[in-house]
């Protein structure tokens, strides 16, 4: 399945990097060639060249045109990122030191794990309960800050099945690097089962007692999320998830 955001980000990246590599080689090769070709031994007398107006105009105009092209493609990719499809499903995400909570439109809540159905555009409404965070899914090339007092948004289309890392990208204090999560893209029918299973206490694992308001003495989430290889522990606390997604996926996460 084609993903408009991933495509545009990667294409703009390739475009700019190609032009950049060309200019880097041009400058570096010319510099090294001149230094060797016109070294004192081979060229004992320097020519007195102080400038060349037409050359200077050329190397001002060409880069100007090129950067405007880069700007243009960057902008058009950005427009894709900002124009949320009308049929997008809205999920509210709240960042707090140091975890993510997801709220679905039917009142279902999930902690750390973001479940979405394959193919359906997802609009994330991003909020923060304390300091600045940034909601980032590298695999889908999207990121937007969570700023207290505002609601920011981003959207993406889950066009790949499986689990993907969610990270906090804006520094937020001691356990910033443990403010991780998982995006889990499911078959739409599995997702419906999961979403409509009434919230059980276990769904919001290790819930509020651990987090709210208190900044722990040492790495708070060490017991739950140390690195992603330990995310499996989160999965284990919720047998429901295991039932609906299937043991296979859990085993894969364990690896």
């Amino acid at each position: 399945m084609d993903n408009p955001i991933i495509n545009s980000v990667d294409n703009v990246f390739i475009l700019i990097v190609s032009i950049s590599v060309f200019f880097l080689l041009l400058v570096t090769v010319a510099m090294i060639y001149f230094v060797i070709r016109y070294r004192k031994k081979r060229n004992p007398q320097a020519s007195n060249i102080t400038g060349n107006t037409s050359l200077e105009v050329v190397w001002t105009v060409i880069p100007t045109v090129l950067v405007l092209i880069m700007f243009w493609y960057g902008w058009s990719g950005f427009q894709t990122m900002r124009n949320v499809p009308a049929d997008a499903m809205v999920i509210k995400v709240t960042g707090r030191m140091w975890s993510w909570t997801f709220d679905y439109d039917n009142g279902k809540k999930s902690d750390t794990l973001l479940y979405v159905p394959f193919g359906k555009p997802i609009k994330m409404e991003i909020q923060s309960a304390d300091v600045n965070h940034s909601f980032y899914i590298p695999a889908y090339r999207v990121k937007e800050d969570a700023i207290p007092g505002r609601t920011n948004y981003l959207w993406f289309q889950p066009t790949m099945m499986g689990e993907f890392d969610i990270m906090c990208a804006e520094y937020c204090g001691m356990n910033h690097s443990y403010m991780l999560g998982k995006l889990i893209v499911m078959k739409p029918e599995d997702f419906e089962v999961w979403k409509n299973t009434l919230p059980k206490p276990l769904d919001t694992l290790k819930s509020d007692s651990l987090r709210v308001g208190t900044i722990p003495k040492d790495s708070l989430r060490v017991d739950t999320v140390k690195t992603t290889k330990d995310t499996v522990k989160i999965m284990q606390v919720d047998p429901k998830i295991a039932d609906s997604v299937g043991q296979r996926k859990i085993r894969r996460m364990k690896k």
């Binding site: 545009s8 001149f34 060229n43 950005f78 304390d130 590298p138 700023i147 007092g149 204090g173 910033h176």
Partner: protein, 558 residues
């Protein structure tokens, strides 16, 4: 000193040996000689740089394995904060202007000192005070700040660490920067030797001129912003704190309104040094003098208007994001133009390959990578993915450290014989430069890849898939640091045991090469007269000691 004989007297010895009112250490601490002040800045800046570099080494050791390697998260967070604070406020911003600007600007203009020598000393004291206050914050109150050098609210308001004191340190440093800027602007306007029109000024002076204007105009903004943080923490005034009706984005705007132009405060003086070194070793005039001079001003001007590109994911309006992206691309043009001019200057030169030129070549390669990766981040679509990842960390180390840092080293090797009257071992210098360049690129280029793969910055711990690249990057860091230590060791050895340097070892054409190494107290016996551009190699463009020349001519006539 209008009196010729008195001037000759004070200039009998170099400025190190001149016996003034004060002796020993006081002859330094109470000096108003721009050269001594430059040397005092150099001593302090090198110490701060090496300290911050060691913090960087600790971070790279921690990054060798996921999970804890040598320290706890809180320690790591304080270390990257202070690595940033020291490197930005105490090294990169003041390094070239305060050391080489102070030492060489008056000489290059044909002046005996800066306009306000006492103010100049005062700004050194402000610099030291700011640095010591920041140091003090490490050991007092709630301990070392853990906010990152950006001090983003609301975290910087909430953090229990000693943020106020380190912020106040940066506030004091701002004044030092403003005072130095004012001094340089006045010096450039008022103290140029007869015949030195604006377009006969060395390009280093042009670069300092553009830099000084940014320092004077932009630094007050950061002063106010940082002060508001202190007030917010102390009294909860509610300007930035959303819980009190403030706006965290306002802070980000105000912070970057200074801190983006500050990027040009960091890089413009370095560009000026490049424009000095290339003509000297190519033995020819610079290519496109006016274009280079004016592009400094263009960079300073447009550089004011691009701060928002630090905030593309902050939730700022989409319209602002587009406008800031466009402006960001525009500032790339004068920067690119400078690089083309430098390379073109080498064309048909008669090039002597010496250590300073090698550093400059390394700079052009590294800085081009830094600038070009900036384009990736100027483009909106790619920046959304890459901002706040290691891609950014790689980019700004290429631009700031690879740009300004490499040129700081180049300038040290270029002006070392002039400043100290000694020479260093060239072979060791080449080896250290090579280690530096190889290590640098292994270290920071890897970060571009890490960033594209989604590794966020300021992470104490990381997911296991990133380990291989982190280890490779750390190995690069260790090689680079070896090169830097060797380089400083070599310079130190030169300082103690080096042979005596001649007045003009490289064949430079600007005024500092026309006086003794090290320079006499008042630089010139008589103010010289300038009759041509700064980089003319094939004819004489200065009349040194014009009064004596006239006397001689008169005698010849009689």
């Amino acid at each position: 000193m209008a009196n010729g004989t008195a001037a000759a007297h004070v200039n009998d010895v170099d400025f190190y040996h001149y016996e003034g009112k004060h002796k020993g250490i006081m002859s330094w601490l109470l000096t108003t000689d721009h050269k001594r002040i430059g040397i005092m800045y150099l001593a302090a800046i090198v110490v701060f740089f090496l300290a911050a570099m060691m913090l960087g080494v600790l971070m790279r050791i921690e990054a060798l394995t996921p999970g804890q390697t040598i320290m706890k998260p809180q320690t790591y967070n304080s270390i990257f904060t202070f690595h940033g604070v020291i490197m930005i406020f105490l090294f990169i911003i003041p390094a070239v202007p305060a050391v080489f600007g102070n030492f060489f600007l008056p000489i290059q203009l044909g002046a005996k000192d800066v306009s306000f020598p006492r103010l100049n000393l005062f700004s050194w004291y402000l610099y030291m005070a700011g640095g010591l206050i920041a140091l003090l914050s490490l050991f007092t109150g709630g301990g070392a700040a853990d906010t990152g050098w950006t001090f983003y609210v609301p975290y910087s308001i909430r953090s229990s660490a000693n943020v106020s004191l380190s912020v106040f340190g940066a506030f004091v440093l701002g004044f030092s920067s403003i005072v130095t800027g004012l001094n340089f602007i006045t010096t450039i306007h008022r103290m140029r030797a007869p015949g030195m029109s604006w377009f006969r000024m060395p390009l280093f002076a042009w670069a300092l001129y553009a830099t000084s204007w940014i320092q004077v105009l932009a630094t007050p903004v950061i002063g106010i912003t940082l002060f508001l943080i202190v007030l917010e923490r102390a009294f909860g005034i509610g300007v930035f704190d959303p819980a009190l009706g403030g706006d965290p984005l306002l802070y980000q705007h105000m912070f970057w309104i200074y801190s983006h132009p500050a990027v040009y405060i960091m890089i413009l003086p370095a560009m000026g040094v490049v424009s000095e070194i290339i003509p000297t070793f190519a033995k020819k005039d610079i290519f496109g003098y006016k274009q280079i001079a004016l592009s400094s001003l263009a960079i300073a001007l447009i550089g004011y208007l691009v701060w928002g590109h630090h905030m593309f994911t902050s939730g700022m309006s989409d319209t602002s994001r587009v406008v800031f992206s466009l402006l960001t691309f525009l500032v790339a043009i004068p920067t690119g133009v400078k690089v083309f001019n430098w390379v073109a200057t080498l064309y048909k030169g008669s090039i002597e390959i010496k250590v300073p030129l090698l550093f400059v070549m390394a700079f052009i390669f590294i800085f081009s990578i830094g600038g070009l990766t900036g384009l990736v981040q100027g483009a909106l679509a790619t920046d959304i993915h890459l901002t706040d990842t290691y891609f950014i960390v790689g980019h700004f180390h290429y631009v700031m450290f690879g740009g300004m840092g490499t040129i700081f080293f180049a300038a040290l090797h270029y002006w070392f014989p002039k400043m100290f009257g000694k020479t260093y071992n060239e072979k060791v210098a080449i080896i250290s430069a090579t280690l530096f360049v190889i290590g640098f690129n292994m270290f920071y280029f890897t970060m571009f890849i890490l960033g594209y793969l989604g590794m966020p910055r300021r992470y104490y711990d990381y997911l296991p898939q990133y380990q291989g690249l982190h280890v490779f990057s750390s190995i690069g860091a260790f090689i680079m640091v070896t090169g830097i230590v060797l380089m400083f060791g070599n310079l130190l050895r030169g300082l103690i045991k080096g042979e005596k340097a001649t007045a003009n070892p490289w064949g430079g054409t600007t005024l500092e090469w026309r006086i003794a190494s090290p320079p006499p107290l008042e630089n010139f016996d008589e103010i010289p007269v300038v009759t041509g551009g700064p980089y003319v190699h094939d004819r004489e463009t200065y009349i040194m000691n014009p009064i004596k020349v006239i006397h001689k001519e008169e005698e010849a006539v009689h």
